[in-house]
């Protein structure tokens, strides 16, 4: 294993998150919904939270749509709970930035699109994939009590509904887990093996 010499903290460390959850029980939520393309014109990473789910959240005249969950004051918290196949479509990391900038630190779903999941991990948002049954339990629990607490424990790799104690394990590869726990990112790692990369490049196939 290679040693890490240069270490920059890329984002907040993630250990145990206790929070209420915001339910979005829709399937195939694509990144065009999470952040529509017309808001991608910035050259900085901050400020996308204001336009998170823009067209589901606001009418064309910018007044809030009352029935959308982010406009409902009874729901809140740092955990976004979405339906199956969350984050499909465009690779725009802006979608993950918008989720983060709005204040979420964790997204729970029964299935994630690949690129969105990677993007989340790269910026310090934890994607937690649970079984369809457990996802259903979470939605039901939040519906019954919007203040219900959800505990996401990264070191233990568990997600728990505090009220009932129901719990499920989730997967994350060791490397990404360590990054999340320590607030490191991949570039820190890659910069430390630059010499190996240079050597490799000399004999690269193309």
């Amino acid at each position: 294993m290679l040693s890490k010499k240069v270490i920059i903290m890329a984002y907040e460390k993630f250990e145990v998150l206790k929070s209420t959850g915001v339910p979005l029980p829709i399937e195939n939520v694509d990144t065009d919904q999470i952040i529509p393309a017309r808001f991608l014109k910035a050259t900085e990473r901050e400020g996308f939270g204001d336009n998170l789910f823009r067209d589901w959240r606001y009418h064309p005249d910018d007044t809030p749509k009352k029935d959308f969950v982010l406009n409902n004051p009874i729901y809140g918290g740092k955990i976004l709970v979405g339906g199956k196949n969350f984050g499909s479509g465009s690779s725009r990391e802006h979608a993950a930035w918008a989720v983060y900038d709005y204040g979420f630190r964790c997204v729970v779903s029964s299935f994630f699109a690949d690129i969105f999941k990677n993007n989340c991990l790269n910026i310090g948002v934890l994607p937690v994939q649970v079984s369809p049954e457990f996802l259903h339990k979470i939605f039901t629990a939040i519906e019954a009590d919007p203040k219900t607490e959800i505990v996401v424990d990264l070191p233990e790799q568990t997600i728990t509904l505090t009220a009932t104690g129901e719990k499920e394990n989730f997967d994350i590869n060791d490397y990404k887990k360590q990054n999340m726990l320590n607030g490191f990112d991949d570039i820190d790692y890659l910069l430390n093996i630059k010499e190996d990369i240079r050597e490799f490049a000399k004999n690269a196939p193309l």
């Binding site: 920059i8 029980p25 829709i26 195939n28 919904q33 017309r38 900085e44 299935f111 490049a201």
Partner: protein, 470 residues
């Protein structure tokens, strides 16, 4: 051990493997554009590090660019600012930059292959999910996020878990009026938008063997719409014929050396795939989508499926039809449409313009239709003129626009208004993708052309000359 094509290319690019973690993958070619790169360059600045191999990165402006009056300054200040940032960042780091007005400018996934940047056996990434297009050449090509763009600029590598492998075979020969776009929409409708998530696809069988490079690009382009990281097709004579003599294609001894590598690029007989599916080409008809994701497609002559008959949540399905203002059981034929968009990295190549022209020739644009015909690059524009397609377009009452992504993602002014229907040759029919409230019907250039001249959803086979059949 018997290896798949994907294994061969992937394994030869692994710099380092992390136990229980990702592989460090060396990237041969990196394409960037104005939307997903500025924050990556900002990251380099914050860390005070240079671009490691500037000669392996290529910049083009496409997502945000206007498709008329490109010689004038870009009016929207935010777009102008993003374009300026790309130019400045490229210049500062010595990256070749094909900006607006440059003769090589065009959509990133159209110009890459046109200039021979795309090569068999290469690893290619870009901050755009349709990077999968380049897989048509037997490359491993996939879309990445901005953090990964920064990684590639800084270290020419990204860290990725090796995906699982899937082979999709389509055998037999295609029916009249069925194009590569229909083949892809058909496969997505069968597998769903998440059916290949976690996989890298190899397309095999008669249909892809006999397909042109343009067609293969269309198919590989749409791999992401079934959730796959990418899709690839083993390089063959068609591939080598296409790349030979292009600006960045190797020549002389370098070509011979490359050929030695390229000749090995096929899945070994008996290589194991994690999943394998096979379709029969004769089952495929011209396709159209009726919903709000690319998996919601069907043969143009069929009826919209009933909610009770589809997989997935009924509420999500109904929400989707409500957005489109369609009903379960509706037939699509004859539904009036308002816009037609021919273009994008899916169907903005010369072959797509040829197909479009074959239908509109001698006919007139329908009065109720606004049509945007947007070539993928200046090279495509040149071919359109050279082959006399421009005359056909103009005689039929259409106009040609300048290259760019345009209404594919509607970041520029080419937006479909709320509630309007667009038959579009692009790749995504998500809510609002072509403008807030816009309703998109994805289809082939033939279906788009048939709609453009009739003003409604029309089976293109009805307008095809018998001798053009097939």
């Amino acid at each position: 051990m018997k290896k798949t094509l994907f294994d061969k290319v992937w394994d030869s690019h692994v710099v380092h493997s992390i136990e229980n973690g990702p592989d460090v993958l060396f990237i041969d070619r990196h394409m960037i554009h104005e939307v997903t790169s500025p924050v990556a360059f900002q990251g380099l600045r914050t860390r005070s590090i240079p671009v490691m191999y500037p000669e392996k990165t290529f910049a083009t402006a496409d997502h945000n660019t206007p498709t008329i009056n490109q010689h004038l300054p870009v009016a929207d200040p935010l777009s102008a600012n993003q374009l300026k940032a790309l130019e400045e960042n490229s210049n500062e780091h010595g990256i070749s930059y094909w900006g607006l007005g440059h003769k090589k400018n065009g959509i990133v996934h159209v110009v890459g292959p046109e200039y021979g940047i795309t090569q068999p056996g290469a690893t290619i990434v870009c901050g755009d999910s349709h990077t999968s297009t380049h897989g048509a050449f037997g490359a491993i090509a996939f879309g990445i996020g901005t953090s990964e763009v920064e990684m590639v600029l800084a270290t020419q590598c990204i860290m990725q878990q090796k995906p699982k492998s899937m082979r999709i075979n389509v055998n037999g020969s295609l029916n009249r009026g069925v194009t590569p776009k229909d083949v892809a929409l058909y496969i997505i409708s069968k597998l769903s938008t998440s059916g290949a998530t976690g996989y890298f696809v190899e397309y095999a069988g008669d249909v892809f063997r006999n397909m042109s490079m343009e067609g293969r690009m269309t198919v590989c382009n749409l791999s992401i719409e079934m959730g796959a990281r990418g899709g690839m097709i083993a390089p063959d004579e068609t591939t080598f014929e296409y790349i030979k003599g292009r600006e960045f294609t190797p020549v002389g001894a370098a070509w011979d050396k490359a050929m030695t590598y390229w000749d090995t690029l096929k899945s070994d007989e008996g290589a194991q795939f994690d999943q394998e599916v096979t379709f029969d080409a004769s089952e495929i008809e011209p396709m159209i989508t009726f919903g709000t994701n690319p998996g919601m497609g069907m043969a143009i002559s069929k009826d919209i499926p009933m909610a009770a008959d589809v997989d997935g949540a009924v509420s999500t399905y109904k929400k989707s039809l409500e957005y489109m203002d369609f009903k379960e059981g509706d037939n699509m034929i004859g539904k009036p449409i308002d816009f037609v968009f021919l273009g994008s990295c899916t169907n903005g190549r010369i072959e797509d313009f040829r197909a479009f022209a074959s239908i509109i020739k001698g006919r007139k644009k329908a009065d109720n239709v606004t049509a945007w015909l947007v070539p993928g690059s200046h090279k495509v524009v040149a071919a359109i003129k050279e082959e006399g397609i421009l005359d056909i377009i103009q005689e039929a009452g259409f106009a040609l626009r300048e290259p760019g992504c345009s209404a594919c993602l509607a970041m520029n002014d080419d937006k479909v208004p709320a509630g309007k229907y667009a038959v579009s040759t692009s790749n995504r029919n998500f809510e609002g993708r072509q403008g807030p409230g816009a309703r998109t019907l994805l289809a082939s250039p033939l279906v788009a052309a048939a709609a453009a001249v009739t003003g409604k959803v029309t089976d293109p086979r009805e307008l095809m000359e018998p001798e053009l059949a097939h």
